[in-house]
């Protein structure tokens, strides 16, 4: 139980605009010590009398075990609906109930003798968990290269962080307002070739993760992908955040991205079938549906 998630009555320490996003720092003691790159937190939103029923899940951007006010957790959010809109405008001291760290984090290379080359790919604010990962990789002697992409320059997140940590940083935007005009996968083959990539880590929209998985596979590399599925609880009880994933036994199951993910080996996720229950899935309806 000591390494499981905690439920902490946290408080807002600060909120800050970063381009199109909001960077939220919460005082939430105890969570930082347990957090590894790729973990996420589930936040209650709207305050004590809120009509907002469901938790909002966010990748952990940074943690600090020794903040001035106690351990802190930092997340990056985009305003999509009522819950994120509420979080984005809270003042310091607003109570926010925090559950975390949740999920399975990124796997780090076991081989620390040889300098493993890791390529990290982030789409939009999906890049948030990749910076702590980059630090962990670098402390293991890994080479780190970043590819960051977004629709436009204001939707990139963490380019300066990346430049501080990585051997190279490639930036793409759909509209060409920063870096190369195009998608992350337009530049990824070049980056992987130059870096002699051994492993790819990716976080961002499903379509990007699918494309990154395909590019990595062409070089014989497995991409570890952190998926962004909508969740009601974040702790494994609601069964809403499922997607079709192939297990070690070759069977497809609808697995929970909150407890079995959010990080999956990209070659195990049936990307084309996300949003469906593909035929042959364990327990899939045989005739007439269910």
């Amino acid at each position: 139980m000591s390494d499981g998630p905690l439920q902490v009555a946290g408080q807002v320490l600060s909120t800050k605009r970063v381009g199109a996003y909001h960077h939220l720092t919460l005082v939430a003691p105890g969570i930082a010590e347990r957090t590894r790159p790729g973990h996420f937190v589930a936040l209650a939103t709207g305050g004590p009398d809120s009509g907002l029923t469901l938790r909002r899940a966010f990748s952990i951007y940074k943690v600090d075990t020794r903040g001035v006010y106690g351990g802190t957790v930092e997340v990056v959010l985009a305003v999509h609906g009522a819950g994120t809109a509420w979080l984005a405008v809270q003042h310091p001291h607003t109570p926010v109930d925090v559950v975390g760290p949740l999920g399975r984090p990124f796997s780090l290379p076991k081989d620390t003798q040889r300098g493993v080359s890791a390529t990290l790919v982030g789409g939009g604010y999906g890049s948030a968990p990749l910076f702590a990962l980059a630090e962990a990789l670098r402390s293991r002697g890994c080479r780190v290269d970043f590819v960051l992409g977004a629709a436009s320059a204001d939707r990139l997140f963490g380019v300066l962080d990346a430049k501080r940590m990585a051997s190279t940083v490639a930036v793409t935007t759909d509209d060409g307002t920063a870096g190369t005009r195009g998608r992350v996968t337009d530049v990824l083959p070049e980056v992987m070739a130059a870096a002699h990539s051994d492993v790819v880590y990716a976080c961002g929209p499903m379509a990007m993760l699918q494309a990154v998985t395909a590019v990595a596979a062409r070089r014989g590399v497995v991409a570890q992908c952190a998926v962004e599925e909508s969740m009601a609880c974040g702790i494994g009880v609601c069964m809403t955040c499922v997607l079709p994933v192939v297990g070690d036994d070759g069977q497809t199951r609808m697995v929970r991205s909150c407890v079995d993910g959010p990080v999956f080996p990209g070659d195990r996720v049936r990307w084309d079938d996300v949003g469906t229950v593909p035929a042959g899935t364990v327990g899939a309806p045989v005739a007439g549906g269910h």
């Binding site: 139980m1 499981g4 998630p5 905690l6 439920q7 902490v8 009555a9 946290g10 408080q11 320490l13 005082v27 939430a28 003691p29 105890g30 209650a44 009509g51 907002l52 029923t53 469901l54 938790r55 006010y69 106690g70 609906g81 310091p92 001291h93 109930d97 559950v99 599925e229 909508s230 009601a232 609880c233 702790i235 494994g236 009880v237 609601c238 069964m239 809403t240 955040c241 499922v242 997607l243 199951r253 609808m254 407890v259 996300v274 949003g275 469906t276 229950v277 899935t281 364990v282 327990g283 899939a284 309806p285 007439g288 549906g289 269910h290």
Partner: protein
């Protein structure tokens, strides 16, 4: 600026001056707060946040004979003070449940109410047979009211004869000491007639309410939000419906124990259901918002009863009818 932040400790769950003993048929629970089926999986995940043995009982997610994938995603939509879900009874099937889930609950001291669901009377009967004598099972909840089935005609709880057929079959195949609770749907014209049919067929108690059938449209796509099109509405939005159903059934069948659920997120909510006639209360969707909600509700319920001068939970059951 200073920040005083605490880890959420599970609240004290027993106030010594109130007898919280709850009775569901022949079964006696140390307190009246349970989880609601489908909101607590099979207990394991919640054990990270509190001791599952502290609850009156854990009610498991409805189990079927075979493993079941459930429906496609999106499976949920948040609505005003509630949510719609369209899970479609995803689960591992009875074999895996008996091998892994029920033993885990038993080992961790949880009293367990096993919820079962089937597509036919025979499937329910077979589930009851398979569960007969299973260690740790305190009672059976017969989910005859899941709205997330392909054919609404299969919702047994919408028809008194179909409901009675299922309940009767389960009762016949269940050990006499194990109470059988029929879980009812509020989506009926006359819930009392369904309740009566279930009791006449041998139900020892009634669980109410299941979710209400609902639907939400996405104004960007102008299509249904849920892949399954319709889903079950739960959360605080439905509490008044739960209170009404419990009130009506308790008025008509005062001797039949009711396990109340529907929008319980606080001790006040729980007490409202108790006053309407519930002998015990399940906490469901509130768990998604607050994983320690069941133990919090229990602590709050104790205070709410105490503040109203009750010394036993039993005195509060149905109290609103006697005022």
């Amino acid at each position: 600026m200073s920040f005083h932040v605490r880890t959420v400790e599970p609240p004290r769950v027993e106030a010594p001056h109130i007898d919280l003993t709850a009775r569901l048929g022949d079964v006696v629970l140390p307190n009246p707060v349970l989880t609601a089926s489908g909101c607590a999986a099979a207990g394991r995940e919640l054990a990270q946040f509190f001791d599952v043995a502290d609850l009156g009982a854990v009610v498991t997610k409805s189990i079927m004979l075979a493993a079941r994938s459930g429906r496609a995603t999106p499976r949920m939509a948040e609505t005003a003070s509630g949510m719609l879900n369209s899970i479609g009874l995803q689960g591992p099937g009875i074999d895996a449940f008996l091998e892994h889930d029920l033993p885990w609950l038993h080992e961790h001291g949880a009293r367990t109410v096993v919820s079962i669901a089937g597509g036919s009377v025979e499937e329910y009967a077979e589930l009851a047979r398979r569960l007969r004598g299973a260690p740790g099972m305190l009672a059976l909840e017969v989910n005859i009211s899941c709205p997330n089935v392909e054919n609404r005609g299969l919702v047994f709880a919408c028809d008194p004869d179909a409901a009675a057929a299922v309940v009767g079959a389960v009762r016949r195949h269940t050990a006499p000491a194990v109470p059988v609770l029929a879980k009812l749907s509020p989506d009926v014209t006359d819930i009392v007639s369904i309740a009566r049919a279930c009791v006449d067929a041998g139900a020892d108690g009634l669980s109410m309410i299941n979710t209400l059938l609902g639907m939400a449209l996405d104004l960007d796509t102008m299509r249904p939000v849920l892949a399954g099109v319709t889903g079950g509405l739960s959360g605080r939005a439905i509490k008044p419906v739960a209170v009404r159903c419990i009130w009506q059934v308790h008025a008509a069948l005062p001797q039949v124990p009711i396990l109340g659920m529907g929008g319980v997120a606080s001790g006040r909510d729980a007490v409202e259901l108790v006053l309407a006639g519930a002998s015990a209360v399940s906490v469901g969707t509130a768990i998604f918002h607050d994983p320690s909600a069941p133990v919090r509700v229990l602590a709050e319920l104790t205070e709410v009863l105490d503040a109203r001068g009750f010394t036993t939970l039993a005195d509060a059951v149905g109290h609103a009818h006697r005022q």
